[in-house]
């Protein structure tokens, strides 16, 4: 298939793999964090780790919008449907994520709440237009990629004078989270998580460009290569990171030049800026409170802000006691370090969010890489392990 198969060419992959083997310094390890779940998915689905030398390891980051949403916000969405009798429209991946007390949107739906799975926010707008007697709330999640469509929908709702439509905004920002990871004691002070460089999220950068990563590449002296989601993109970007690390550089480079520019999509950025503003702080599952890492709806559009419309207050809810999702999301542990992995926590009955989303590290491990475990092969090692 044109424009896709070119990026999955096995012969090219072997040539790239040979270049990586040639250039990777055998006397050291290369720990490369892929922030985004799209990369995690590509690495496992295509077996990219198989083509890497033993000293190049991928560390799975927190870049799955489903995984990082705190439990309290899912409780809020259920409350909107149950207590306020709203029609809550959600992306499919959110439906099975465990909320408090073993609940989920799917279970609330089965119990009679009006919760509907939609494929885009325009479906939610359509439902609002067709059911003017019902309050319709879109459960908005996602990084910079999914934010512009939410902005457009709010502007559209305002233009149409839709009175029964609102957005429960949970949009989060990538650069703030990466900065937070690099500032964490595990990385900075304790050195228990080795991260030498980042594969930058490609779809996010198609909106925000590569520029926002320049600050922390410089500040934390970690190279970033913006990489597409195809397996050859991941390999090419890995080679670029290895070269930077070998040369002692820490720059932002762009492998995904077919889509991403330095400045990004200025029109989309303007739309987002018109509708949203920064939250001073937002809780991320696994990372805790991260300053200036999320967006809220501006006062000018408060009639479309479900938080204000229904006076939503979010309760802080702890993850299941033995669940290691928080550490896994920070790259501090790998899925197989979790006692629950593959025992009580499986894709059929997930305990933690990393097992729910198809882009979560645990689900990817379980679905694509389980046989490696049995063969005694691990896809990820922490710094400590590598040293041993």
């Amino acid at each position: 298939m044109k424009y896709v198969d070119e990026f999955r060419n096995g012969a090219l992959a072997r040539r790239l793999a040979a270049a990586i083997v040639r250039e990777a310094d055998k006397s050291r390890m290369y720990h490369i964090m892929e922030f985004c779940g799209g990369h995690t998915h590509a690495i496992f689905r295509y077996g990219v780790q198989d083509l890497m030398p033993g000293n190049v390891r991928f560390v799975h980051g927190p870049g799955c919008p489903v995984c990082v949403l705190p439990i309290g916000r899912i409780d809020n969405a259920i409350e909107l449907a149950e207590r306020h009798s709203a029609t809550v429209c959600s992306y499919g991946d959110m439906m099975r994520v465990p909320a408090s007390e073993r609940r989920s949107l799917l279970k609330a739906k089965a119990a009679g709440a009006d919760i509907r799975m939609v494929y885009s926010i325009t479906d939610a707008l359509k439902i609002a237009r067709e059911h003017s007697d019902r309050e319709v709330v879109f459960f908005a999640i996602g990084f910079e990629t999914t934010t512009p469509p939410t902005a457009v929908a709010i502007l559209q709702a305002k233009a149409e004078g839709l009175r029964n439509f609102s957005v429960f905004c949970n949009h989060v920002l990538t650069p703030a989270a990466i900065q937070h990871i690099l500032q964490s004691p595990e990385v900075r002070a304790l050195g228990t998580v080795a991260i030498d460089g980042f594969l930058g999220p490609s779809h996010v950068s198609s909106v925000i460009g590569s520029r926002p990563y320049e600050y922390f590449a410089e500040e934390f002296q970690r190279p970033v290569v913006i990489a597409g989601f195809e397996p050859l993109d991941v390999m090419q970007a890995t080679l670029m990171l290895i070269r930077q690390l070998n040369e002692g550089r820490h720059e932002v480079e762009n492998e995904y030049v077919r889509v991403v520019t330095h400045e990004g999509n200025l029109k989309a950025q303007a739309l987002v800026a018109e509708v949203f503003e920064l939250r001073p702080s937002f809780e991320w599952r696994g990372l805790g409170d991260v300053p200036y890492s999320a967006l809220r709806i501006k006062d000018a559009f408060s009639e479309f802000d479900a938080e204000k419309r229904f006076q939503v207050t979010t309760r802080r809810v702890r993850d299941a006691k033995s669940c290691e999702c928080p550490s896994i999301l920070r790259g501090a542990k790998k899925p197989t370090d979790c006692k629950l992995f593959g025992t009580v926590c499986t894709p059929e009955s997930p305990i933690g969010s990393c097992m729910v989303s198809s882009e979560g590290a645990c689900a990817a491990y379980w679905s694509y890489g389980r046989f490696r475990q049995d063969a005694g092969v691990s896809g990820v090692r922490t710094h400590k392990e590598a040293a041993e």
Partner: protein, 348 residues
């Protein structure tokens, strides 16, 4: 079942709709049965009008299979719920190597369902049954109140006879066996998705829905000792291979490059973030046979129109974990796991 021959007026096929009377068991039910079901399904056993169909069967092993059909939308490119309900059950019977003999059909209709649509669906079922040479000889109709159904649900049951010397079962795959697929995967699922509300997109893909017992007959004739046969419907090829691996307690290794996949299906799956290995099929089968029989079986399949694109896609290997593994076109290896829940398009 008492069929009346005369009613005060004809059923209004053009603008009429199902109402509760049609499920009452009274005159309206009888009229629906006579003027719609019997008219389309027309065969001597059904025309007897008894509550059951009585017939002789040849000696041998009898197989029976039943399947409920709840599909949205009911009409889709390449088919509809009617022909699908016939093909689905015939194929389940055929996957034992059997020759299907007779079918039954049960309808649960929602109040308000247009008679015109019902007529079209039943005509499609009748055509599918005629083409397959398997009559629908008994049936049932119920009507549920508006809001308590999804328009139409159809349950079909089929019976058939397995030829002597044939012993096909999901637990017979053994290491060294070859795995064969009869043609391209994912056509049905993509055709359905392309017409599903909120997700409509333009595609030339049509459902592959088809009755496979003719193909199976040709295969059994060429290689009586086929080990396993299964149609990869809901859950797709991946689920079927996992089922067979688990039943037989073996592993499987398949090659992504060998699996036939239409460019349009590939493109639609890319667009939606779906894996074609998990997308449904309704006119394909997976066969597992001894390596020595593979060429013969492949040739028999390719000489039949429904198996023209048949391919060997992998082999059975010893594995206590019963994992299905795939060599990707990219050169890596990955597990092909059971699907957890419904496959959903990705967020971004």
């Amino acid at each position: 079942m008492t069929i009346m021959t005369r009613f005060s007026s004809w059923l209004d096929h053009r603008s009429g709709a199902i109402d509760m009377m049609h499920g009452s068991g009274g005159r309206a039910t009888a009229q629906l049965v006579t003027e719609l079901f019997v008219r389309h399904f027309d065969n001597p056993l059904l025309a007897q009008g008894n509550d059951q169909a009585a017939f002789d069967v040849a000696a041998g092993r009898l197989v029976m299979s039943t399947d409920g059909h709840v599909i949205s939308p009911v009409f889709f490119p390449g088919g509809d719920i009617g022909c699908l309900s016939v093909h689905g059950t015939l194929n389940d019977v055929a996957m034992s190597g059997a020759r299907p003999l007779y079918m039954s059909a049960g309808f649960i209709l929602e109040e308000g369902f247009p008679l015109q649509d019902l007529d079209r669906i039943v005509a499609s079922m009748a055509a599918a049954a005629r083409e397959a040479g398997v009559p629908i000889v008994t049936g049932d109709t119920k009507v549920v109140e508006k809001g308590k159904g999804d328009g139409i649900f159809i349950t079909t049951t089929g019976i058939g006879i397995v030829p002597e010397g044939v012993s096909i079962s999901g637990d017979r795959a053994s290491p060294g066996d070859k795995i064969i697929i009869s043609g391209s995967i994912g056509d049905h699922g993509v055709a359905i998705l392309s017409r599903r509300a909120n997700l409509e997109f333009e595609t030339e893909i049509r459902s592959d829905t088809a009755a496979l017992h003719g193909l199976v007959a040709a295969m059994v004739e060429a290689v009586p000792d086929i080990h396993c046969l299964r149609d990869p419907t809901r859950g797709g090829l991946a689920t079927t291979l996992n089922e067979l691996a688990q039943q037989s307690r073996v592993g499987m290794r398949i090659s992504e490059a060998a699996i036939p996949l239409k460019a349009e299906v590939h493109a639609a799956c890319e667009l939606l973030g779906l894996d074609p290995l998990y997308v449904a099929n309704e006119g394909k089968l997976v066969a597992i046979c001894a390596a020595d029989d593979a060429d013969l079986l492949l040739a028999a399949m390719r000489s039949h129109p429904l198996g023209a694109e048949a391919q060997v896609i992998g082999e059975v290997v010893p594995d206590p974990n019963a994992f299905v593994q795939m060599e990707t076109t990219f050169g890596g290896t990955r597990i092909v796991d059971w699907l957890a829940g419904e496959q959903l398009p990705r967020i971004c």
